[in-house]
Symmetry: C2
């Protein structure tokens, strides 16, 4: 069985569900829905939804119940990218090989499209009538309101001013300044790590994981989040612009502290390998049921885009 194949199926499912939830561009006002869709379907790797499915799947065969929550994760992730790319923030012109939202729709619409995606994530998770369809009905019927609230809480906490938003503000503040390895570690655990942790914890909650397993997955998730960021930093130095769909060398240009700028490529790679081994270690008690998650872990640590 090709695992790549099953990833593709899961990604297709997420794309289909995202398309079914997001208002069509014929929905008034069309411009905001066009901008929301533009960024959501701009070629994301859907890593967070996959992590959520696989975490859920460790505890139940019915991992598809996580679909609306996986879509909510991707909406939150996409909103964060739209806002990060704004002229007032990182001022990026391209993302995944396509012009960024504000370049296509203007700043006002880009800000509002981000706001709308963030808001929609919580509408979806709370069962808003507006977005009712077969996927959300399955979610309502399989996921009790207590767990539903916990998943919302998990995502909101990760995305908030002590999580992802803290990471972004610290990242901006750190540009051109001396940053210690410890500070960088903290910035990354918030900016990238928090939502990855929420993907795995959210999935485990939806699978009704026992507390011990939830704790173990949190440790794994935190290692994975760190590794994800080290690989991003490495790719900004060594990556192929065509494959990545964005300019490389931007961290140096912005004088941004990264694992690579602080300790060099060789040490960054050895740090990546250590994180990989430790993350895999945390998965060992799950046995064969975690094979797909292992394969995704390997992809995340050794990807070239």
């Amino acid at each position: 069985m090709s695992l790549i194949h099953t990833w593709e199926d899961k990604i297709e499912l997420v794309d289909k569900a995202l398309d079914s939830f997001l208002p069509g561009i014929e929905m008034y006002p069309g411009k905001i829905h066009e901008a929301m869709r533009y960024s959501v379907f701009a070629g994301g790797k859907r890593i967070r939804p996959l992590l959520m499915f696989l975490a859920c799947g460790l505890f139940t065969d019915r991992w598809q119940r996580a679909l609306p929550a996986a879509c909510a994760l991707e909406m939150i992730h996409t909103y964060s990218l739209i806002h990060d790319d704004l002229p007032a923030m990182d001022d990026d012109n391209y993302r995944r090989g396509k012009p960024t939202s504000h370049r296509v729709y203007g700043e006002a619409t880009a800000i509002l499209a981000g706001d709308a995606l963030l808001t929609m994530a919580f509408a979806l998770l709370s069962g808003t009538e507006q977005y009712k369809n077969e996927y959300s009905e399955a979610y309502q019927s399989e996921v009790g309101p207590e767990i539903g609230l916990k998943v919302i809480s998990e995502l909101a906490e990760a995305a908030g001013s002590l999580g992802m938003i803290a990471g972004q503000i610290l990242d901006l503040e750190g540009e051109g300044k001396t940053v210690s390895m410890e500070m960088l570690d903290d910035i990354n655990s918030r900016k990238t790590g928090a939502l990855i942790v929420a993907s795995l914890r959210g999935g485990a909650l939806l699978g009704e994981a026992p507390a011990g397993d939830l704790q173990r997955l949190s440790v794994y998730a935190s290692l994975l989040g760190k590794g994800f960021q080290v690989v991003d930093d490495l790719l900004d130095v060594e990556g192929d612009e065509n494959k990545m769909g964005k300019q490389t060398g931007m961290d140096r240009k912005r004088k941004k502290a990264t694992v690579v700028s602080l300790c060099g490529v060789t040490k960054a790679k050895s740090q990546r390998d250590t994180l990989y081994n430790n993350a895999m270690q945390e998965l060992s008690p799950f046995g064969e049921s975690a094979d797909e998650l292992r394969q995704l872990t390997r992809f995340i640590f050794y990807r070239d885009y």
Copy 2:
């Protein structure tokens, strides 16, 4: 009994709870929490929390249970003002007599402070551990998870791309263009009306209102939302800048369609009076229990700031 006095008590309670929930400026990273607090405590009238309390109070003596949801409403309202004031949107320098967020903290922080307040509203409503205190514990213990989810859904729907965000984008698109009275009515019902409707419906849900009463309050809320906007439009023409804490005459300067620009001051006032009478009519079945809500309604329709 002075009703004004009980408003003040309720407003004081909201302010105290907002202060208890919002991370302090000593919480790392301090800048984001400072910016969040700056706008939340910039002198808002707390009309939406009051509406929520009063709607809840129609059905239960324990209206204080609505406190975290009332704070969440105020966070969503504040986020929308921060983003609306941005240079890419309305480009306002003052709000309630104080410099706007981006003027004090810069655009990047203002965008992120808005994002963080929106996110925190949903964290609060879902019982995130992070914000646990006596108020949120009372909410958890009195409000079941089904109703908790419904309140989240109500607020997320109102704030989303078919509600408040739609209103903002239509408002921006309409500047300098010919807008019919019907279009204007639609813009206003989204931009201002949606969150006011959610305040009252959310309060009624928290009071476990019967379906018929919920429906009646929705009609009242929609009339109130329209009236709120007509008064805003009138104040932009006739209001006292000192009392209002912001420049008047801005709608004309921006060539914004308003009720006043479309049909003049006299007709706008008679429209306001009709909306007021119709709104009061919807409250009559609630008898004396709605007296405080009547007084707030009168304030909203005939305020001078």
